[in-house]
């Protein structure tokens, strides 16, 4: 029973002890690194296989359909059938494409999706590497996606792909700023960039302390990964598939894997930063529950994103950029400023995480920022309507 309470860590310990019996220390480290690495690299693939099924089912139910139900019970093996189809499809490189760049882009984007998982804490002590710059690492690795997408769009020698690449530059660079600002707020409040420590210091989930930062991060992350309603990079009704329109077969599959790997990764990071990560009832008694809480919270975030996808129209590029620069950036800057001020009030030396008073103050400030933002947005919408002859609407 005690073994089960902290099952995953105990499992790792027994494993290490077992291979330590016949391997030298460096061999044990090597094998462990390899195993962890393989698990992390496989995460995007696992995410793709499970999330495509989930997305089809969720969107299907939202659309009053059943979704896949032919391959396996409830269609759970649909994703495998799709994977097989993708593997055996012809790989086409368009004539006139910049071949090295064209071939490198899918590798890069899938690699970036895998790298993100290195700093995701699944449970206490269950983290690939508790980097001292974990939060910064998340942002930095996220930017590799931008490069890969531009490479794919540019090298395809296709106007739709090029238009997609234009949009990528504008969109991803714009939304990186509110994303960094909202992560910075969390870092400021917790006083650490280590992803593991951020979870440790989240006495209350930051969604109720810093709702502005949470909303900003979720929206920016959705934009970063090209999820609806920010899926302009691949807007199927406008630029067909955008930057990956010319890809087929397994190369297309890499984009697919990256998309769902990123989706799971941003959900995981949202969970880590704002939903208390692996924290939950009885985790202190049985740390093995942590990963379950973590996955449940992540899936809840993913579900919200899918829900939005099924019911919201897409932004237009100018509206989307205006939304980033005129709404998200000011709001998250105000939030950052307020957090900095609050944390200076009654600051204790050696303080880890905010105190109760500080948290209440942070929440009050956040609610105020939300109210002001909503008010200004409403006024802007009315002004926009009046401009187009919709006064009083």
């Amino acid at each position: 029973m005690d073994y089960l309470r902290n099952f995953f860590v105990n499992l790792a310990r027994s494993w290490t002890a077992w291979i330590g019996g016949f391997l030298p220390d460096w061999g044990v480290n090597l094998v462990n690194y390899l195993v962890v690495g393989i698990i992390l690299v496989l995460m995007p693939v696992i995410a793709t296989l499970t999330l495509t099924w989930m997305e089809r089912k969720v969107i299907g139910r939202i659309q009053n359909r059943i979704g896949p139900n032919r391959v396996g019970p409830w269609g759970i093996f649909q994703a495998f059938a799709d994977a097989v189809k993708m593997l055996i499809k012809e790989d086409i490189v368009p004539s006139g494409a910049d071949k090295p760049v064209f071939n490198l882009a899918p590798i890069l984007i899938a690699g970036a999706a895998a790298l993100l998982w290195a700093v995701v804490p699944f449970g206490r002590g269950m983290i690939g590497q508790n980097l001292n710059i974990g939060a910064l690492y998340v942002v930095a690795v996220g930017s590799i996606t931008t490069i890969a997408v531009i490479m794919a769009g540019w090298s395809s020698n296709n106007k739709f792909a090029l238009l997609g690449a234009f949009r990528v530059v504008a969109q991803l660079l714009s939304y990186e700023i509110p994303m960094v600002l909202s992560i910075a707020t969390v870092v400021l409040v917790t006083g650490t960039m280590r992803m593991g420590d951020i979870v440790e210091r989240q006495v209350a989930p930051f969604i109720v302390v810093l709702p502005v930062a949470f909303i900003t991060y979720l929206l920016a992350a959705a934009a970063e990964t090209g999820r609806a309603p920010f899926d302009l990079l691949e807007a199927d009704s406008e630029i067909v598939a955008g930057y990956f329109v010319e890809y087929s077969g397994l190369k297309f599959g890499w984009f697919y894997i990256a998309e769902y790997g990123n989706l799971f990764a941003i959900a995981a990071i949202t969970t880590t930063l704002f939903l208390g990560g692996w924290r939950g009832p009885f985790v202190s008694v049985a740390p093995a529950l942590g990963p379950f809480y973590f996955v449940i919270k992540s899936v809840a975030v993913i579900f919200v994103l899918m829900w939005i996808r099924g019911t919201w129209p897409r932004f237009r590029i100018d509206q989307m950029l205006a939304f980033a620069w005129k709404v998200l950036v000011p709001a998250s800057l105000a939030n950052l400023l307020w957090s900095a001020i609050v944390l200076q009030i009654g600051r204790q030396p050696e303080q880890l995480g905010p105190t109760i008073v500080q948290m209440i103050l942070l929440l009050v400030g956040n609610v105020a920022i939300l109210a002001v933002t909503g008010l200004l947005l409403g006024r802007a919408a009315r002004r926009y309507a009046a401009q187009h002859g919709w006064a009083g609407a």
């Binding site: 659309q63 106007k159 238009l163 807007a235 590029i317 509206q319």
Partner: protein, 597 residues
Amino acid sequence: MTLVNDSTTVPAEPTAARPPTVGEQLAARFPNAILGASTFRGDTTLTVAPTGLTDVARALRDELGFDHLSNLSSTDWSRYRGYAGKERFSTIYHFTSTRTGERIGLKVFAPGGDSPAVPSLAALWAGANWPEREVYDLMGIKFDGHPDLRRILLPNNWPNHPLRKDIPRGGETVPFSMIWEDEEFQSFGKQIVEAKSVQPVPPKQADANKHMILNMGPQHPSTHGVLRVVAELDGETVVAAYPDIGYLHSGFEKQGETIRYKDFLPYTDRMDYVSAMSNNLGYSLAVEKLMGVEIPPRAQVIRVICAELQRLASHLVWLGTHIMDAAGVSHALLMYTFREREQLSDIFELISGARLTISYIRPGGVWKDVPPSFVERVQDVLKAFPARIDEYERMITENPVWLGRARGVGKLTAEQCLSLGVTGPLLRASGVPFDYRKARPYSGYENYDFKVPVMTEGDTYARYLVRLEEMRQSLRIIDQALKNLPDGPVWTADRKMALPPRQELDTSMEALIHHFKLMTEGFVPPMGEVYHSVENPRGELGFYLVSDGTAVPYRLHVRAPSFHNLQATDTMARGSLIADLVLVIGTIDIVLGDVDR
């Protein structure tokens, strides 16, 4: 067989003392330009000299209020009975007043023999541009002063003008019908050879060095079929959009001129295949007008119910695909609207056996009486739909992203609409309360209490609201029609179109001959020409029929709403973003079968 049908006599029009008609006013004003006037089935057609056409048309528009150029077509008279080497070609223009619903036709005999030319009306109505190109393409009549006279439906190097009577149906050169010795065989592999009479004009694409030319279509997810839009882009901004059509052109008009009137009905299903019932109705009414027959009241009410159900179904398809344009295939509304449309398709299947290409409303009535469960099924629709439409409204009407996307996009003013010949919900969303069901009621629409929704904003959002309200009004019409569904026959009793009853065949030789003639030859309308239009879900659907007193139409022209509305693409999309261009195409609600025919 030369049996003479006694039904070809034209009933005399009653003449009484009245204020001068439009024709008389014009004849007094332009004594040199108006060469004659004729009235057939209540349609007045003035014959105008080519030189006077522009002046007469301008007077019609500016002084007499005929602000809508409904239809522009042409006829090749060379095989017409009584043609004696006069001008071979004529063009015909039908003008409608959006205020009073009055209509007048102008006919111009084109001078120039086999290479005729008439003045262009494109300077007065910008919307004359495409119809004139169509006439030039299919009939070979040149329009002097046309800004961009080149082929529109057929390829630039098509060898002939197929609607001319000396061009047989399917008469173009097909290489594999040749033998090796033919010298024409050199064109093997080039199925279409260069036309000598047509100068190919390259599409006007402005400075391609500065701007990117993006080919949207003919394979593109949101062009709603095989439409190709050549979009000239400056970054993401649309500098100009040139729709390129004709990919689905199947020569329905030429086909219609080789088969009997009743045999053309299935073709109308396949033009605007999203609202087949409305097309059936439009064509049937035109043929009945030509024949001069009355339709029994039960058939009329059934027609109204079916046409309004079809309007619901068509608007549902529009709504689902329109949201799909704005949101992508994952948006839930698409499947919701198709669920409701399924219910309507089931009703169509119940009454006709077909779901899409229905051919239920036929010249003479409707195919068969509706089955007993029809009323119940339609009542189910009436019960379910108001809540469903409210549900759609809750999903997107107030959605801030949808508001941002749809408001101010694809604006058209009332003047632009009238100039471009745009009809239907687009016209009504721009503030012109013009609906053929009110302006020129047909099938008893004057007996129903319904409103024509009108908005003045003229953008995509206004058109969205107008169409949603039209769905509610359609439900009101269906409700009233169901309550007042009379008993009786569903096929006309007029022996010009109706078969004699079975028992008469045993006793009357005349009835037997009549039966034989109707079955073998088909009904025969008198000589004359009519234009009749109905309010299709997309706008004005008109049929222009010329009869030479045989059972086969001499000339059959379709005034397709999508064709005319699509012209407004450039006006609506210019200066907006590429995402708006997609919405603009969606808001026009085109059906490519209707555009290309």
